[in-house]
Structures are given as C-alpha cells and as structure tokens.
Amino acid sequence: MVILKLAYRNLKGAGIRTWLNIFVLSIAFLAIVYLKGMYNGMQDQSIRISEDTDKGSGQYWCEIYDPYDPLSLPDAHDVIPAVLDPLREAGVMTPVMLYQGAIYPDNRMKNVMLRGADQAQTVMNIPTSELNVEADGYLPVILGQRMAKSINVNEGDIFTMQWRDGNGAYDARDAKVVHVMVTDNSTIDVGSVWLDLALLQEITRLENQATMMVVDKSYSGELPESNWTYHSLFDLTLDIRTMVEMKSNGGSIFYGVLMALALLAVFDTQVLSIWRRRKEMGTLMALGMTRLALIKLFTLEGSMYGIFAAILATIYGAPLLYLNNMNGLTMPMDIDNFGMVLPQTLYPEYSLGLILGTIIVVLITVTITSYIPVRKLAQLKPTDALRGKMS
C-alpha cells in the first residue's frame, strides 16, 4: 500500500513526462480495442448477413456441388431427396438451384449465375415474392442493386437471357427485371439473376431438381439423413472467419508497432528515471527502504502508466468508440469485389472480454517493460547511490 502511494506521488510529481507516456500508451490501447472491435464486428455482421440471406442455419448440398470448383457447376443439380420434403413443406427448408447462363444487356454478353428459389419461401431474406407478377410474357427476374448498376439496367428493363437446358440444348428468352433488391450480401447480388425455381426447373427441363436446400436459421430440430450432404453455418462461414483472422493477424503487426513505440517511451522513461534518481534511491535506502521495495516502487511506477492509460483511454475513447459503434464505418463500394459477404457499413463490437483482455495485455507488457531496466537495482549499494553512482 505504501509503495502504491509512493509510486502514485512520484508519477504525479513527474508532471508532463508522466502524462506524455500515459497519452501515448492510451492511444495504443485505444487503437488495439478499436481494431479488434472492428474485426469482431466485421466477422459477426458477415456471419449474421450470411445466415439471414442465403445460408440459414445450414445447407444440404447435392452430391456434385462444390462452390470452389466452377467446373462442377453445370452438373450441380439433382432431384431433391424425398426425405427432405416434410421439412420443405413445413417451410423449414427451401430449395435453391444454381445454374449457369448468360444475359445480353445492351447487346453485351455477361455470364451470370441463375438462382432459382421458391416465390413463397421465407427461409432466406430475399424478396422472391416479387417474382409472383405477370411480366407481359417475359421471364420475371430479380437483380441485386450492385448487379443492376454494373449492367446499367433498372426495374422494368428487358434483356435477353440464354442458357443450356438439361439436355445440353441452347435456349434463350427475354427476361424482365421486376424488382431490384437491396441486400448487404454481395455474393447473392453480383453476377446473379434470381428467378422462380419452378420456372428455372421448367426452362432447364430439370423438374424437381435443385442444387441445395437451405435450412431456416431458427430451426433447431432434427435434420434427416439423406444422400445430400449437410453443411452447418459454422462450416459455411469458415471463409469469413479465416479472412477476419488473417486480417486480424495483419492488424496485430500494426498495433504491435504502436505498442512497441509506447513501450519504448515507458522503457526510456524508466532508464532515464533510474539514472536521474540515483541519489534519491540512496536516500530512500538510507531512510530504510530495502532494494526489493525499491524495485517494486520503480516497477509499479512503470505499471501505473498502463493503469492510467486505460483510465485516460476510457475517458476520451469511450465516447469515440460509442459514436463509432452507433454510426459504423462505411466501406467503399470496392468491397463488392471481395467475393465475400461484407456489409457496406461495418459496426464494431466491443465486448467486455475484449476490453479487459486488452487492459491485461497492456498492463503485463508495461510491467515487464518497466521491470527490465529496474532489475539492476538488486545490486545497488546505498553508498554508491548516495554518491550518484550505479553499482
């Protein structure tokens, strides 16, 4: 307790030097919390969007479907297993068919993924009910806003759509954009044309076939065994977690450098402090302080930079982080090209664990950094210290 009191008095007495160190450390502290919070938010939001819009709580895939093998796509459809029908009829699952095709907006060809889904489905947060309209004999389709923008079409525009049916024969018809949907999930938007599953099955002559069955996110009941393979949301979002982890590791270098700079300041102050206060140390020993108490005092003085930095960071950082948490960070449109589910506006998530964890890490590193130059006091002779010498 005495040591704590003395350390506090010494830091207070050191004035601007103390505050500069504390300020630098608090910036490092805040940067770590901010970046970590941003990555946590990015991951959670991306997973939530995926779950909400196309992955549900998981997906059954037909045997041939492999999203990482484009060559498998032409054959990635099969008859929906009968064992899944009860859950489909109960609205717990919905089939989706992925089929390659091409469109010709303004006489330019663009390869697209035709995505067939039930008009009445509620499993995916996609406005498929908009497909239930009379489209003047055209094929009614829905486009995402990014896709519509990239091919320069609007609601009501017509373009030619081409595909090969199940027998390999080319076929084409004009399609009409009946709705342009707004979604945070660019993977179901960019390069995709949504149409009614029954219609897609009809024009491709692949009746009762689909590529996958998406399970509702709220469904927690038993999942039947079938010849289609079940992939949980955890498996399906592995790419998101891997990417965020990779980004987070990259970020570690950034805040590692920041911390190193802040710790260098603390180290420097400690070395300088020991050098300048040799006589003071001799006096303290003459007054009855042991070498161990001296080591504790000087280490604690260094550690207290960490404690005060956490307090200072909370004072000026909490409102900043709160504002950032409320308004989010809007990303440039370029993120659409990442090929991953990334929301346009990222909202960081600051958990208690993250903040406490960061405080502990900062305190431990600051304490170690403070202790390293102080170790040599274990050999200090009071008479040398009083003469301003280091033993």
């Binding site: 005495v2 006096t283 003459a286 007054l287 009855g288 302080m289 008479t383």
Partner: protein, 230 residues
C-alpha cells in the same frame, strides 16, 4: 536498547579497491559513543569521516573488525535487517539535503513514517510536531525547490527526527549553508539532542559546527588521532 553504549567499533577496517590496489579508508578504528552524545567526527577531506558514518549507519559494511550499533552487529546484518535498523532507529542528514523533489515539505517529513507503517492520524500529528521543532509549520505544503538552503536542511532535520530515532548521523550538514543558517541549524539540533535525548554524530570539518560539539573525534588518514570531550 537500554545499554548506554550506542555505538561500539572494534578494530574497524574499511578498504576499497581502487584500480589495481586497495585504498584503506579506515584503519583499526576503536570507538565508543554513548546514548545522548552530541559528537563530531572531524578531519580533512579523505580522512574517513563519511566512510565511518556510512558504516555506523549500516549503509556499508566493514572489511574487517566489528561495529555494533544499538546491539546490532553491522557486519552480520542482512540487507533487509540493515534497512530495518535504519528505518527504526537511525536518521540521516546529508550535506545536499537529499529531499525528494516531487514531495511537499510535509510529505518529505512523512516519508519515514510511511515506511514504518504508522497510521494516517499518527503520521499527521508526528509531522506537525517535527515541523514545529524546526520552525517550518508554515512551509508544509511547499516543494523543496521553493525553499532556501537553510530551510531545506531544516526539513532534512525534521525528516531525520520525525520518528524520534536513537541516533542521527549528519554528514557535513552545514557545508552548503551560510553562517547564520549554520548556527540556526546547529541550535535546532542541540535543542533536539537535549529534549529528546537523541544521539547526534556529525562528520564535519567546519569550525562553526565544532564549536557546538561536546565531543570531538579527530580522524586522519582513516585513524582516530584525537578524541576529546569538552
């Protein structure tokens, strides 16, 4: 602590390695100092005054021989025991005052009491008493940088005396002070010696200080050459 002899040295030798040879700072010093004495170690620079003071104050250990201070044999004390002896029974006054610059006058005086684990109330009252002895009650909240040399040394005396130690060791306490302040400081210490029965041992070569000493121990080249009581 009831024994009259506060300090006893027997064939005390202190040698330091200097380059490739040994410098003997104290040669077979035999000395006895009793409780309540007001004594001075005098001699020219390099005669061993400060070294003797440091050994008696358990800041250093003898190379050979024996030193007993308040029944504790300095040569066998561990670092912690030596710190404890200083903490409980010895007060130091230095030539350069050695006040802690970031503390106020009151905090400087309070410091030894913090190490002794005194309660807040006890500390407050003891600090008030100590500042009153040296006439600095009105400067309690000032920092050392705001004080004159004389005032700083009076704070150092208050710090040494606040715990009412059995022994106060003062190393050239007036070296940085003018005549007026020197006399004032010495009168203060003389008064405390009389009132609290604290033993004072000075290291000095200042004639002004010597006038006040009741016993003068002269050192030359590390040896006691004269020991006279007035």
């Amino acid at each position: 602590m009831t024994e009259a002899k506060l300090i006893h040295t027997h064939d005390l030798v202190k040698a330091y390695p200097v380059a490739d040879r040994e410098f003997v700072a104290l040669k077979n010093v035999n000395l006895e100092i009793e409780r309540g004495e007001f004594a001075g170690l005098v001699g020219p620079s390099g005669s061993g005054k400060t070294t003797l003071l440091n050994v008696i104050g358990s800041l250093d250990i003898p190379t050979s021989g024996s030193v007993t201070v308040l029944d504790s044999k300095i040569e066998v004390l561990s670092h912690k025991q030596a710190a404890n002896l200083r903490n409980l029974h010895i007060g130091f006054i230095f030539q350069t005052y050695n006040l802690l610059p970031v503390y106020t006058v009151a905090e400087n005086v309070e410091f030894p009491l913090l190490l002794l684990g005194k309660s807040s109330d006890e500390r407050r009252s003891m600090v008030e008493d100590a500042l009153e002895w040296v006439g600095l009650t009105d400067k309690a909240e000032m920092r050392p940088a705001q004080l004159s040399g004389g005032e700083s040394q009076r704070v150092a005396i208050a710090r040494a005396m606040v715990k009412k130690p059995a022994l106060v060791l003062a190393d050239e306490p007036t070296a940085n002070l003018d005549a007026k302040n020197s006399h004032r400081i010495l009168e203060t210490m003389e008064k405390l010696n009389a009132e609290l029965d604290t033993t004072f041992l000075f290291a000095t070569h200042d004639e002004k200080v010597m006038q006040y000493m009741k016993r003068i121990i002269s050192l030359e080249d590390g040896e006691v050459v004269k020991d006279e009581t007035k």
